[in-house]
């Protein structure tokens, strides 16, 4: 099973794969690897754009 999962997600790096497993998305990874990859990629872009755009990635100065 682990081999199958790894083979079907050769484009996923170890970090993403760890998050997929931690999130319990093994079934989604096996059945829809491209969708999992798209979701991971989207999340990374969202985080990067948010951090880069808002006040130079510094924590907001609010209480």
């Amino acid at each position: 099973m682990a081999d199958d999962r790894t083979k079907s997600t050769t484009r996923l790096d170890a970090h993403i794969l760890a998050l997929v497993v931690a999130a319990g998305l093994d079934k989604a990874l096996a059945e829809f690897p491209d969708d999992v990859l798209a979701a991971a990629s989207s999340a990374m872009q969202q985080r990067d754009s948010f951090l880069a755009a808002y006040r130079g990635a510094k924590p907001a100065s609010v209480a």
């Binding site: 993403i16 998050l19 997929v20 999130a23 319990g24 998305l25 093994d26 079934k27 989604a28 059945e31 829809f32 969708d35 999992v36 798209a38 979701a39 991971a40 989207s42 999340a43 990374m44 969202q46 985080r47 754009s49 948010f50 951090l51 755009a53 808002y54 006040r55 924590p59 907001a60 100065s61 609010v62």
Partner: protein, 464 residues
């Protein structure tokens, strides 16, 4: 009465009082129209014609007897299919929810019934209000009455399309990142995202607890105000609900704009995300109309669209993930592809990302509140381009980000989309008016004044 289907709710109420129209006559007219047009528009996921006719007959008897149930007595309303109506399925346009029969009315539906409204049926939506437009869902995507090959906006797609086609006078939508204002913009109608906390979300399928809003949609600001008057109010079952009972949203619609200070957020559409030239020209025309009507228009600066969008996406995806995680783990194949991709994104965000986004959000709310010390209303772009074709996934993905709605989901300020023109291709253009927190009345007052000053509200789509 001919063309009763184009009457607004306020006009219908008046016609009932003077006996120029009855609830049964109106409903017969609408049902005939739905039978003819909805196969082309797909506004409905479930039409409850028998119930509606029974309710119309009862309303007719009561009105003839001089009894009034409330402001919407005998007036049909369509309900987005993520909002519970007791006894009807709330499918959220998902295979996962096809057998989900609502046991009770959502709070807003309870309020509608108490005001005498007739619940006409359930209206098309993106899957769980996030995944669409898409052709791999239980119900086909609604079509834009201005051009059936084009997207009607979403996710409250059936609400916008059905209003524009004259299938009903009022509808409810929901808005977590523009889902009321997008179909309002694409279909040339009027849609309000109220101030956060003003309208209960109890009984509505959640997407993002801190971004979700239920909003009124109609063909005029006057009718939006009438509908808001009925659905607004505190509800202890919604923890976001504000403990107040503000009403009378239509009381000041005739006051106009004289003396109001309008802040024009030009950078949204000029530099942050450059808009289609026709959208820009229409926005400048809106500013000119506001000036002619006595408002003082000045430029204001807010955080950029990219900043707002980044915060909105991180919060939305973080909050929706725990709602859908059990189903995404056990039955990912029962989601449409768009939903599956969008809903899983939250699995890859951390608690730290969410906390940071929430902290940024607080600063953004403070930034926008600060601007409202110097202006009464903001004028901004709404959709930054006319609706694209519904069968072009690349264009749909591209235009998904061409909007200025998410800032006010992030900040919670009230925002209304109003029709501001037609493109050369015959598709609606729109503008957005935004008010300070709980200044929904003022937002609708300016929208109503703008609608009186132009004739866009009278335009009808070719399919109608």
């Amino acid at each position: 009465m001919t063309d009763a289907h184009w009457l607004g709710a306020a006009e219908i109420a008046s016609a009932y009082v003077t006996r120029r129209l009855s609830p049964v006559e109106l409903l017969q007219s609408l049902l005939a129209r739905i039978a003819t047009l909805d196969p082309q528009i797909n506004a409905f996921t479930r039409l409850d014609a028998d119930f509606a006719m029974d309710a119309a007959r009862l309303a007719e008897r009561e009105i003839v007897a001089g009894r009034s149930r409330g402001k919407l007595h005998g007036i049909p309303v369509g309900i987005k299919d993520i909002i519970d109506v007791a006894g009807l399925p709330t499918t959220c346009n998902s295979k996962i929810m096809l057998d989900n029969i609502a046991k009770a009315d959502a709070h807003v539906v309870t309020r509608l019934r108490a005001a005498g409204a007739i619940i006409l049926g359930k209206l098309g939506t993106h899957e769980f209000a996030i995944g669409g437009p898409s052709f791999d869902l239980p119900f086909p995507p609604p079509r834009n009455p201005w051009n059936r090959d084009h997207h009607p906006g979403g996710s409250s797609s059936g609400s916008g399309a059905g209003l524009a086609a004259g299938l009903f006078p009022l509808a409810l939508g929901s808005d977590s990142g523009g889902s009321v204002r997008h179909p309002a913009s694409a279909c040339g109608i009027t849609g309000l995202k109220p101030t956060y906390g003003l309208v209960s979300r109890a009984g509505v399928s959640p997407l993002s607890f801190t971004l979700d809003h239920v909003g009124p949609m109609a063909r005029s600001a006057t009718d939006v105000a009438l509908l808001l008057d009925v659905i607004a109010g505190h509800d202890a079952h919604d923890r976001g609900s504000v403990a107040s009972n503000r009403h009378g949203f239509g009381n000041h619609l005739q006051l106009g704009m004289r003396g109001l200070r309008v802040g024009f957020v030009r950078h949204f559409h000029e530099t942050d995300c450059p808009a289609d030239a026709e959208v820009v020209a229409a926005l400048e025309q809106v500013a000119a109309v506001l000036t002619e009507e006595g408002a003082e228009v000045r430029n204001v600066i807010l955080p950029s669209l990219a900043e707002f969008a980044g915060v909105c996406r991180v919060i939305l995806n973080s909050e929706v993930w725990p709602i859908h995680a059990p189903w995404l783990r056990s039955q990912p194949g029962n989601y449409g592809q768009l939903s599956r991709q969008r809903l899983m994104a939250g699995a890859f965000l951390s608690a730290g990302d969410y906390v940071q986004a929430r902290r940024c959000r607080r600063q953004m709310i403070a930034d926008v509140d600060e601007v409202f010390r110097d202006v009464d209303i903001l004028l901004t772009a709404s959709a930054l381009a006319p609706a694209c074709r519904i069968d072009d996934p690349d264009m749909l993905a591209h235009t998904h980000r061409l909007q200025a709605w998410t800032p006010f989901n992030v900040t919670g300020h009230p925002a209304v989309a109003v029709m501001s023109g037609l493109s050369k291709a015959g598709l609606p253009l729109s503008a957005q008016l935004v008010g300070g927190a709980f200044q929904d009345s003022l937002v609708l007052r300016v929208a109503a004044a703008y609608e009186r000053s132009t004739d866009w509200r009278a335009r009808r789509p070719p399919v109608a």
